[in-house]
């Protein structure tokens, strides 16, 4: 087990810069998820930690050691890849034991570790099969098994569930979480799926264009997004953004009236008011800090809740209603949100103001 520290890590490929000098401290035993859209540099960062890409500048420490120049095998890490990367010409047993054989472990010890990992991952009956005879989920388990037996200080996962169907993904997500709880090893996990990020992480690192936008617990990132990008990226459906102007204790929303916003700056400036669909209730009456008149365009029943796409002053907003509510298309409703559910962002810098 070990902590991982990135300081000023930069990665340039020819003329493009993939990672612009990031700093990140990951505590021993922590589960950190790097999340962001494709091309944000999350996989490149992971590959640099693994030693599969060289750093252009900066330092990576695993434990106390600077590992910049160490070979992947000498970094005491294990990695699970998106497309499993298990050797097709070897049996499950050989696949799992391969790394151990390279490490010249005693035969009995190797066998014991393979058996243990297989038992944990439910692969005991499949050890003599070849990868082509396994399902996607089983293959990913073999890949995890191969990582586990190495007893690494840090587990690296590069979008390990992307190739699985939705049901299997949910199941494997749970298994990975259990595995982490059992082993308590440091995990760095890359995904573009914000649900995976929210459910698995102790801390989430949201990345964009090779920079870190925000580091925080899932609740922090969800409840207090540092930028408009994070606000939109985390949470589904995305946060509603209403343009407006702030100043002198109030927010003037374009075409949607004025709301009180105590503590807002004296100087008037353009802003975006963000409100999550989960926090925007569909109500027949009543009032909150934000109350908007709207007309329902589309209704999407999800079972427990219903998503309501409604037109408020020419702007489409998404709100959530109770699944049992009887709503009709074209119906006039009120969309209501409380003061603590409102997020104000600077329209220029996109940074959070409140």
């Amino acid at each position: 087990m070990a902590s991982v520290t990135l300081s000023g890590v930069v990665k340039r490929f020819d003329k493009t810069t993939a990672v612009h000098g990031i700093d990140l401290d990951i505590a021993d035993g922590e589960f950190v998820v790097l999340v962001g859209p494709s091309g944000c540099g999350k996989s490149t960062t992971l590959r640099m930690i693994a030693g599969l890409e060289d750093l252009t500048s900066g330092d990576i420490r695993i434990g106390e050691r600077i590992v910049n120049r160490l070979e992947p095998k000498d970094r005491n890490i294990a990695m699970v890849f998106q497309n499993y990367a298990i050797y097709p010409h070897m049996t499950v047993h050989k696949n799992i034991a391969f790394g151990l054989r390279m490490a010249k472990l005693a035969k009995a010890d190797e066998e014991r570790r393979v058996r243990e990992a297989a038992a944990v991952l439910g692969l005991t009956g499949l050890l003599e099969r070849r990868p082509s005879q396994l399902s996607g989920g089983q293959r990913q388990r073999v890949a995890i098994g191969r990582a586990m037996v190495r007893n690494p200080a840090v587990f690296l996962f590069d979008e390990p569930l992307s190739n699985l169907d939705a049901q299997l993904r949910a199941q494997m997500r749970l298994e990975i979480k259990k595995l982490h709880q059992g082993l308590a090893t440091t995990v760095i996990y890359v995904t573009h799926d914000q649900v995976e990020a929210m459910t698995l992480a102790d801390r989430i690192v949201v990345m964009r264009d090779g920079r870190i936008e925000q580091i925080g617990t899932p609740t922090e990132v969800y409840r207090q997004p540092a930028t408009m990008f994070v606000a939109r990226f985390i949470g589904s459906p995305s946060m509603n953004m209403i343009p407006g102007t702030t100043g002198q204790g109030a927010v003037e929303l374009d075409g949607l009236g004025r709301i009180e916003a105590p503590g807002s700056a004296e100087v008037r400036r353009p802003i975006f008011l963000g409100v999550r669909p989960d926090d925007l209730r569909v109500a027949a009456g009543g009032a909150g800090a934000l109350t908007l008149e709207a007309r329902i365009n589309v209704i999407e029943p999800l079972g427990p809740d219903t998503l309501v796409y409604a037109d408020a002053g020419g702007r489409e907003l998404v709100a959530k209603a109770d699944g049992r509510a009887a709503l009709r298309r074209g119906e006039a409703v009120k969309l209501v949100a409380d003061a603590d559910a409102l997020h104000v962002f600077d329209a220029g810098t996109e940074a959070r103001l409140s």
Binding site: M79, H89, R146, N163
Partner: protein, 277 residues
């Protein structure tokens, strides 16, 4: 044996089968005449019937007892085997590097290798000869073999096949602690066995049937390869067709064996690499 279809219902298939059957006959006829001629006596040689009136093994006995055929066969076999092993190893190594490593000038190297495919052997024979003479390689195994130890075609073929090996497998092997050569040898190479088998067949056949260069570089009968040796049965005034055909019949055996053996690996390789991503 059934045809697998009802000919009355599908006239198009009849046409196709007839065409294929004709093609088969055209392919097999020279082979059949080769065997037939090898079993004919000198008197019957120019009688073009397919089945000899008095089949005899005297040609085979002469070939093995009196001529140097066994020596030529051995020469050919050693040369073809070493050339094939060398091509498989070096071409796949070069193909792997060109496919999986990023380095300056990679594209130029690849184009340079590819462009060697456009130079005909006939053009190279004189420089090869001069080189062999200067280096003392004339009339040696090495002299016969050296132009075919690495081939541009093989490098190209292997590079294309290595594209099908996912980079993640190579990364995984790096993390597992394999050296770069062992990644090539233990991870990448086993996944391109169909290509290796195909390349082995092409190379072995190419080397086994090579004529022009071995003819030029060898000057003593004991260093001849099979094609050069067989050609020596054809003199200025007479051609011993029976001996040429007998030698050719024996010479087809290794090529058949190589093909039959490796064909199995091609199929096995296809099954192996049929892992969905």
């Amino acid at each position: 044996m059934t045809l697998g279809f009802d000919p009355r219902r599908d006239p198009r298939k009849i046409a196709i089968w007839t065409l294929v059957a004709l093609g088969g006959v055209v392919m097999v006829m020279p082979f059949a005449f080769m065997i037939s001629t090898s079993l004919k006596s000198r008197e019957e040689l120019y009688d073009l019937r397919l089945f000899p009136l008095a089949p005899t093994l005297e040609n085979y006995i002469y070939l093995f007892r009196e001529s140097r055929f066994v020596r030529w066969f051995l020469n050919s076999f050693v040369i073809a085997s070493i050339s094939t092993a060398s091509v498989l190893f070096f071409d796949s190594l070069a193909g792997y590097v060109l496919c999986k490593y990023r380095f300056k000038g990679r594209q130029i190297v690849f184009i340079a290798i590819l462009s060697t495919l456009m130079i005909p052997t006939e053009m190279l024979v004189i420089p090869w000869y001069v080189m062999s003479k200067n280096l003392g390689w004339l009339n040696t195994y090495w002299g016969i073999m050296f132009p075919g130890m690495i081939t541009g075609f093989g490098v190209f073929l292997m590079k294309q096949f290595f594209e099908t090996v996912p980079d993640a497998l190579i990364d995984a092997a790096r993390i597992d602690g394999l050296s770069e050569f062992r990644i090539f040898w233990e991870v990448a190479l086993p996944l391109v066995t169909p290509a290796l088998s195909a390349l082995a067949i092409f190379t072995f056949l190419g080397s086994w049937t090579a004529f022009l260069w071995p003819l030029i570089v060898t000057n003593s009968a004991s260093n001849y390869t099979v094609p050069v040796g067989l050609a020596s049965f054809s003199g200025e005034f007479t051609t011993e067709w029976n001996m040429i055909m007998t030698g050719a019949a024996v010479a087809t055996i290794p090529t058949l064996v190589v093909f039959i053996l490796l064909q199995k690996y091609i199929i096995r390789g296809v099954i192996l690499s049929g892992v969905k991503g």
